[in-house]
Homo-oligomer: 337 residues x 2
Amino acid sequence: MLDDRKLAVLRAIVEDFVSTNEPVGSKALADRHNLGVSPATIRNDMAVLEEQGYIAQPHTSAGRVPTDKGYRLFVDRLSTIKPLSVAERRAIETFLSGAYDLDDVVGRTVRLLAQLTRQVAVVQYPSLTRSSVRHVELVPVAEGRLLLVLITNTGRVEQRLIETPAGLSEESIGHLRALLNTCLDGLGFGEVPAAVADLPEKVGPDDRPVAAAVLSVLLETLVENHEEKIVFAGAANLAAVDFSQSLREVLVALEEQVVLMRLLGETGDSSTVTVRIGTENPDLGLRSTSVVAADYGVGDLTLARLGVLGPTRMDYPSTMGAVRAVARYVGQILAGS
Amino acid sequence: MLDDRKLAVLRAIVEDFVSTNEPVGSKALADRHNLGVSPATIRNDMAVLEEQGYIAQPHTSAGRVPTDKGYRLFVDRLSTIKPLSVAERRAIETFLSGAYDLDDVVGRTVRLLAQLTRQVAVVQYPSLTRSSVRHVELVPVAEGRLLLVLITNTGRVEQRLIETPAGLSEESIGHLRALLNTCLDGLGFGEVPAAVADLPEKVGPDDRPVAAAVLSVLLETLVENHEEKIVFAGAANLAAVDFSQSLREVLVALEEQVVLMRLLGETGDSSTVTVRIGTENPDLGLRSTSVVAADYGVGDLTLARLGVLGPTRMDYPSTMGAVRAVARYVGQILAGS
DNA sequence: AATTGGCACTCCAGAGTAAGGAGTGCCAGC
DNA sequence: GCTGGCACTCCTTACTCTGGAGTGCCAATT
């Protein structure tokens, strides 16, 4: 349907439009890229591309602009991921290796990615459902209140307050803590519910209510797992692009954890980097943005996702390169710690 | 120098400009506020106010706009903090009391404040320097790496990775943990350095290097305290106001922890709510914004600050009311947990 | 002495008009 | 199937013009 030259024209249109942000016409194309044909021929090709929905004109007698469908074709068949330069790789490495805990790793990653791509970066914390228990701690913080602290193998630390019956002895707490740790150490979070089911029966009758309270909070934290932690950075980069009135919508979307989660999408179908373009996004406020995302993890184990959000009119090859590289380095850093 | 009527005129100008965002003229003033005098008289007063630098005109033959100096006078002498409505108070209370840990309290607070004021809210985590140690935990996460987890009386949980010599026994770790806890429990963070100074001497010779490593990380975390944690929310509200090109600058400033810290300013000079107007701010990118901030804490103990950032042209009385109210409620919530 | 109405003046905002130019679609010729 | 030519469209920019809001000043009034 589309011969090679038409594809080349589409590629040229995307590249020019991305770099100039202005509708591109047949003459400019013929000048800047040596396609070996005249503007008139290009016009004919453009007419076909437009008919098939890959490009559109803002108004009669203007140049052409890629549609979402056009970008999609570009990403799928007309471009290759652009590897980062050596200097960039080195910068990533040194910047990330300075991190001293998980919060810091995630914080540095998200800032790094935002700076590298000059867009908004989004990073999800290593998912609880794919982690395992390293240690459980119970700390009394006040009469009738315990702090449950949960440390995962990925270094993530979860904390949760528990209301307990008054008059709980130090000894009972110690006992419970020991029980929990022997029960749970090293367990994947999926296995936790089964492992702790009979916990109340293992403690003295007086401590049953406490055990039950701790258990319910524990399960709530892990299994329902309703608060996947996720952060973003680089909002300022949005203001640089001309988003006109939709900037507000984008900012609103970014502040909603839920939207952010949906944005990164399901963890990948094996392909390294996934791209969502414009209306392919689930959220209405983000019709004119694209998301480039990838899984990251240690070895074969996928921990979570990270990505970049920007205007549909973005430099996909470079952005995909940056996302892929950062995802790999984060994996390495996490593996090392 | 400025009689009552001139002050009334200034107040009217500020109020009208804040609500309409347009330069206000003498006629409009005479119509909307019953000042009991004619527009001509008001014009004379305005000429005086302008001469003294309280108001300015964008261009000849336009209405007047308050200057930073004008807002300052308004805040200091012409307005009173506007208490929140009962409904608003109740909403705050229920919203905040649903929080289940410190992260959650801070997160809810910042979102609440942003929503309440329709501006950007900034909340600092309870300062480490004013907290005390509740519990110290050492968890091995891999060969040669320990995770130091520190729990404060305010419920804040700090984590930090420690590189240790290899071949550390479970027993040594347990010993060190016990030592740390007995040394430090209940101590204010200012007292920590002195208390742990002789720690290496209390452990066996083999464990000295580990003890030293733990100690240096601990001190680094607490005393240097170089990373005051601080969060913001409501960036989307910035887009609603017309910040023209400076929006980018403001967003950039917001993403810098350091700038954010300076923004909230020193912990208060006893007055409940402090206001920084336009050029009074330390940061250049924020010349056209104002910051309304307050301390929060439990009882007499100040823990940290929170506040709101918006255009200089903001509704100061309401914003101050919201900041004051939220600061109080956060204190109550923290006291209760 | 303070206040007021009148008046000429300034200057922005918005609407209308015109010229320029980039780009298109179509067609006939190669 | 490609190309050059040509008429046409319509955006962009600049310019002009007018209406109106607002000012500053002054002479009259209280």
